[in-house]
Structures are given as C-alpha cells and as structure tokens.
Symmetry: C2
Subunit: 367 residues, 2 copies
C-alpha cells in the first residue's frame, strides 16, 4: 500500500468518526495525530480537517518540511498566534461544529478559541481519534519491525562479549552505550529513557539508571526501545552476570510461564482483560500475585504507550492489526525484580510475536 | 542555598501568586512545574498545593521515587483514575477555588474535574506559574553550567581531530556521536534532537539530520544541548571543513557582530524586544534583514524553550537571574545558513556569557 493511499484511508476513517460525532470539522493538536493523518512530522503545527478539505496550520520554521512531507496538503504559514489563525480558518470554511482533542488540547487554547468563535462551536472528543491509530497497517508494521531489529541488534552487540559488556560499568554508562548502539543500528532515537537496573534496583519498575557499578553475580534488568520512521518498540530482558540465584531462578520461571500464557491468550476478539488474567493466574498460582503490581501490557506505535491497555478492568476487545507489549513482572523490594517484555501483533486466528530475542533463563546467563 | 530552602522559597512565591489570583489551591499538572515546586522528577503525577499544605498525587510506580526525592511531602498513592482522586483531595481540604494550568491542563481532565466538583471550582491561570521559573537560583545555575560543560566538552571532543571528525560521515551519524559524547561527559540526555546540517541544509532552521555525507569544503551547522540534573543548555556553531567561501565569510561576520550586539543589549531592566532589535539592526544594515526569520532567543531551564522570548514584540523586561539564548541567524535558501548561539545570564549591571566556546570565524575552520 502506498503512503498516499494509507493517508487517504486514515482521513476517510476520521471523516466517518466526524459524521458519527456530528461535527463538520476536527482540529488535531497532538503532534502524533497530526503526523498520523497528514504525514507531517514537524512540531507546533495543527491539522484542521473538514468534510472534504484539510489544511496544515504551521509557521515559517516548518514550511519547507511541510512542502516535502505532505506536498498535496494546503499549508497556512502563520505569522501570528495560533488561536486567531484557527478561528479565521474555521470561519472561512464555515465549520459549524469543531471537534477538538480532549486528551490533548489545553484549557488555555480552548478558552482563546471559545472567545474567538463563541462558546458553543467546539465539541470535545475523548479518545476516539487516538483509537483510530490502534490497528496498524503494513507500512506501520514495517516501521515497527525495523525498530525491533535496531533494538535487538543493539542489545546483542552490547552483550556479544558476554558479562564483560556489563560488569564494572555504571548502570547509566551501559544505558548510554545501548542508546548509542541503537542509533548506529538505524534508530532515530530511543523510544523512552532506557532502564538499566542492577541488583535490587530491578525491583523498581520505573528506575532511572545511576552511578551504581554492575558487579559479577548481579541480576540486571534492561528495558529499552528504538524509534524508526517515528514508530516505537518496547522490550525488557533480565540478564545475569555469571549465575542465577536459585530463588530468582524460580521467579524467572514463573514470569516466563506467565508471559507465555499472556501471549497465548492474545487473539482478535479476546478482551484486553482476558490476556492480563491469563498471565496473572500463573503468577498468583506461583505465590507472587501481590508482586505483579501493574497491567500486562499496552499498545504502542507513534507513541510508546497507546491504547489499548491490557489490564484487569479492560473490557474492550482486541482487533487484528493491533500491536501490544506483553510484560508481566514480579518485584521483590530489596531483592530484585524480573520482567520479560515482548511485542506482539494481534492476528485473526491468534497472534504473532514480533520480537525475536531469546527468553529462556539459560540464554540470559552471561559468561 | 540548600535544596530544601530553594523549594520552600518557590512554594512561598507560588502562594503569593495564589493570593494575588484569589485561589486557595493550585493543581500543578505540567511535570516540569511539579518538579520545580516539589523536587519530584517522575511522571504522571500532579502536585496539589494549598495555602498551608501540599500533596503529591502519584501511583505505585513512583511511590518509592517520591519517598526518595521529596521525603517531607505527603504522597497520595492512587489506585484509580486521577480526576476522582483530585476531586476527593480538593473536597477533603475544603479548597473553594482551584487554580489550574491553562497552558498544560487538557480540556478532557478539566471536564472530568468540573463534573466532579461543579463547574465553577476551577480558575484557569495563564502562564503566571511558568513565569515563576524564569529567574534562576544558584542551584539551577550550577546545573545549567554543568550542562554547558558537558555540551561543550562533547563538541570539542568530536572536533579534536579537526575536519576528520565530520568529513565522510553522514549528518545523522555525527549527531548520534555528539549525543553519545554528551552522555559520556555527564549529560542525562540531549536537550532536543541534535541538528547537524551540511551545506544548503543549514538554511533550514529546524532541519532533521539525514543520510547526507559531509564533504570537504562543506559548511556544517550544529545545534545541540545537554541536560544535567534536569536543566538544559542550547548552543549552535557553524564549522567549515577546510575553507570558508568568501560570500559565507561575509555572512558569518555579520551574524557574529549581530550576536555581540544582542548580547551587549542584555541587562536587567532592558525590554526583551530591545535585545532583538539591537541584533536585527546589524543584520538589516548588512542587507540580510529578511533572512533573519526568527526571534533572537528564548529563556531555558527545565525546558529548553521557556519564557521570556527575545522577540520583536516582547515588551516585558529582563530581570537579573534570567538565562536566555542569543542566536541570530541568516538563512539563504539553497546556499546555506549561519546561526551562532550562546547562553547568557542576565545580571544587575549587564550580563554574563555562560557558554565558553570560541566564536570567531578562524576558530570554526577545521583543518
């Protein structure tokens, strides 16, 4: 599918949503949505969409980029504040009811628009626009696969020499090294702040790598992801510099079985809660139910955290083409934590694991 | 000044603003403001401040980090959606009028709060809270200086071998290299996507580095910054791999003189517009007035772009302790662009240049 065709399909879906929500215009303010529907990847620019027209509202810094990235889309190169430019376009195009992004537009901008257009012109749309990004097309999946190959290649290169790649180095130096290797492998940037957590630090799900030096015999949790063509991936592995303590080996085995159960529960038509429940059941049966204190996973794409959420209360159903992380964990404060995270594509009859790194405990022990 | 004393001074300033704006509570939603007023550097957490109390609204992922980073601040570790947790705290503390951040709170969250608290409980504050971050204290300046030393050290290391550091390499590989060197020099991350723009690409102020290979005889614009302890810096240099074309040498000279004039115009009490005008006058006199198509500079700190703005219409006055970039540029489409950017501290009697890299054309020619 060509890029132009993909963009035109997305616009059609947006216009169907507009008809359902009884708006004849939509203002996209989230830069990820601007990019998704127009192809424009710059900043500080909004996309205004009508029933049969669309325009990019940008400024001089991005005019050239707009010409290159979305040559068919008319661009208004503004020289003054955004709100009056939006208001003028809305009036000129005779938009009667303008949908705005509830999860992104600020109350400050909304107040300025209300003053310029009257208080009843805007209608807040909550989440429906983001949801149009959930099912990925072939081009998006190709970018996600490229991001995965960059992230996996960097991880393998980091550990190609075994435990030497970690032992004696500070957590934050290992994180910087992994980030750099992703760039060399083709990533535009890291998808988020890479976590490298040694020993008991691995028990903190959102640890920030510090000056702690990794020692022989440590467990080291690494959570990292690359971005290629704007698309993210998200992986976690726990590696062991020399040996696995028997108690941690037991925990690792439970998390690995929980992840497999979670992945097996993923298929088009299943609820998001059911995958979470399948993994949680394994961890609870192992006696660590309380120590799995977050949801099973989340969608990802242009943003590293997108809908859907795989959590205990998520009654929505998975659809073919969604991509989600599957990342159960057991966290033992003061001892350590094990999380294993892979990226999975929901398919009609089941699922496909997009990430390819080994997961078994033996492969995680670095000599 | 101790960190605790700095935080308490910031809270006092916020409470003075609350009295002026007739609110008895403020909800901080921008993570940079949460960090500035509480010291908490995690995500997805809000700070609720009353006349004589404050509390952090966070979740289990960040409870440990909150204990470490702000041990004296009570934390509510929420297990459900944010809006009802905010509403409950607002009611329990009997807040009658709650200030919210107009430039950050989303219309979606505001609508949920209005439903929970009644439509007249929230008052939108526009920009006044961000303005409390404009004047930097000694601790903030120390972090900014550390960021500058990391950024400058990385730049010097990149070019220590002369033109060899650039020639034959793709723009994006040079950018990745510079980013990595900043991390090795102590930066947490890059302050923004590093720009490395070879030849005519330097004429695009927001160019994204690509596969173009830098050749001998090219001009190369590099715009980069580091983050240390959360604080940013922002620098630009144009270097020449071998020689400067005579026409570009003339442009370089004008931009350098414009930057010096802009820096000289900075002092406490001067308007933000006057510094811009001083630099613009030099460029206009050189015949390139139209080619300087952006403002002279901007404040920076926890965010790389903060108020104040040094622009043609900025009537606000500079105050001692503000830090701003000074970055005039001349952009010639299809030919190239020159921008020279340094970071400057506004002082009572004048200003101090915080960045120390050489600027003269001769030093920019790499052999």
């Amino acid at each position: 599918m060509s890029r132009a065709k993909a963009l035109s399909g997305r616009m059609s879906a947006l216009r169907r949503l507009m008809r359902q929500r009884h708006v004849d215009g939509v203002l996209l303010t989230d830069p990820l949505n601007v990019r998704f529907f127009s192809g424009f990847a710059g900043e500080d620019s909004f996309l205004l969409v009508g029933r049969r027209w669309a325009m990019l509202l940008t400024d001089g810094r991005f005019a050239e980029q707009a010409r290159l990235e979305c040559p068919r889309l008319p661009a208004v190169v503004r020289k003054r504040a955004m709100a009056p430019v939006i208001a003028e376009a809305v009036r000129a195009r005779r938009v009667r009811r303008l949908g705005v992004e509830g999860g992104h537009m600020t109350v400050g901008l909304k107040a300025r628009l209300d003053r310029a257009l009257g208080p009843r012109r805007c209608k807040v749309l909550a989440g429906q626009i983001d949801a149009l990004r959930e099912v990925k097309d072939a081009g998006e999946l190709a970018a996600i696969r490229k991001a995965l190959r960059a992230a996996e290649g960097a991880f393998k290169a980091l550990l190609a020499g075994g435990a030497r790649g970690l032992v004696g180095r500070a957590e934050r130096d290992v994180a910087a090294d992994l980030d750099h290797r992703m760039r060399l492998a083709g990533a535009e940037r890291s998808a988020f702040e890479t976590i490298v957590a040694a020993g008991a630090h691995s028990a903190l799900p959102h640890y920030r790598p510090g000056a702690t030096v990794i020692r022989r015999g440590d467990m080291v949790l690494i959570d990292w992801g690359a971005v290629v063509d704007g698309y993210c991936c998200d992986l976690t592995r726990v590696v062991f510099t020399g040996r696995i303590r028997p108690d941690i080996a037991g925990v690792y085995d439970i998390v690995l079985r929980a992840q497999s159960a979670g992945i097996r529960a993923i298929r088009a038509g299943a609820t998001c809660a059911s995958a979470d429940a399948a993994a949680r059941k394994v961890i609870a049966a192992g006696g660590y139910g309380e120590a799995f204190n977050h949801g099973l996973g989340h969608g990802f794409g242009l943003c590293v955290h997108e809908s859907p959420t795989l959590g205990g209360r998520a009654t929505r159903r998975l659809r073919a083409g969604m991509v989600v992380t599957v990342e159960p964990g057991i966290y033992l404060p003061g001892v350590g934590g094990v999380r294993i995270e892979d990226d999975v594509l929901v398919a009609a009859g089941g699922r496909r694991r997009l990430s390819r790194l080994a997961r078994d405990a033996e492969a995680m022990v670095l000599r």
